[in-house]
Point group: C2
Chain length 119, copies 2
Amino acid sequence: MDNDGEWLPQPDVADIQLAKVLHALGDPVRLRLFAIYATGEQYDCSSERLGLGHLHKSTVSHHMRVLREAGLTSTRAVGRNRYVRLRRADLDARFPGLVKALLTAAEGLDDLDDLKPAD
Amino acid sequence: MDNDGEWLPQPDVADIQLAKVLHALGDPVRLRLFAIYATGEQYDCSSERLGLGHLHKSTVSHHMRVLREAGLTSTRAVGRNRYVRLRRADLDARFPGLVKALLTAAEGLDDLDDLKPAD
DNA sequence: TTAACTGTTGGATATCTGTCCAACAGTCTC
DNA sequence: GAGACTGTTGGACAGATATCCAACAGTTAA
């Protein structure tokens, strides 16, 4: 029951702080996760699928938490999986043009094509 | 002689990395300095004039160095002063729209009106 | 030349952070 | 229920960082 899962805690739109957002993105791993989430909702947090095979699962979990607490992502817990998506609308409302500029700037960082939402 | 001063070392445009830029701006003090420099070239690094009276001068010097080494600012040393300005053209060329979006987002962080370049 | 001024550098320190590991909780499958 | 699976949490630890202070170098002024 409750198939929709529960939402992990995240800051309110009005409480999203620019400095914290930039701090969260000021790490290569999280910047990559940000670019990945921007391609669509992700439902598999395993390091391998995210192209972060070299990182321990708890490390990836840590980075996802930082992103969520900064207000960048929303996470829904369903069963043993986590559905993570970018809070695009919230971010656009709060910081117009920022996400778009960041994604443009982040293009070509790595090969992100392999990481589009599967099927 | 050499009244123009010398330029402190800074990365080449092509070497400016997004993650480093965001890391540099992911600190409240440096985000404030960024917004200040965006209003025009600054030629006084004293904490007081920058609205950072609570910080030691060596701390401010440290933050300015981080901004410069990330590729965000240019610094010219003339006499005992430092003329710091945002590398707006370089940043716009490398990350189109990013600076504009950041400045829009940073508006209203504090009262920056008092810090426009004096006379 | 002596003194004041601006900013840098190195040391010290407390805090933060990225990473791994082990243990755990909840979930799914057999 | 037993075991496999996904992800979280707490501990440990090395490295980074923000801050201050003292000392210094170069510059300007008296």
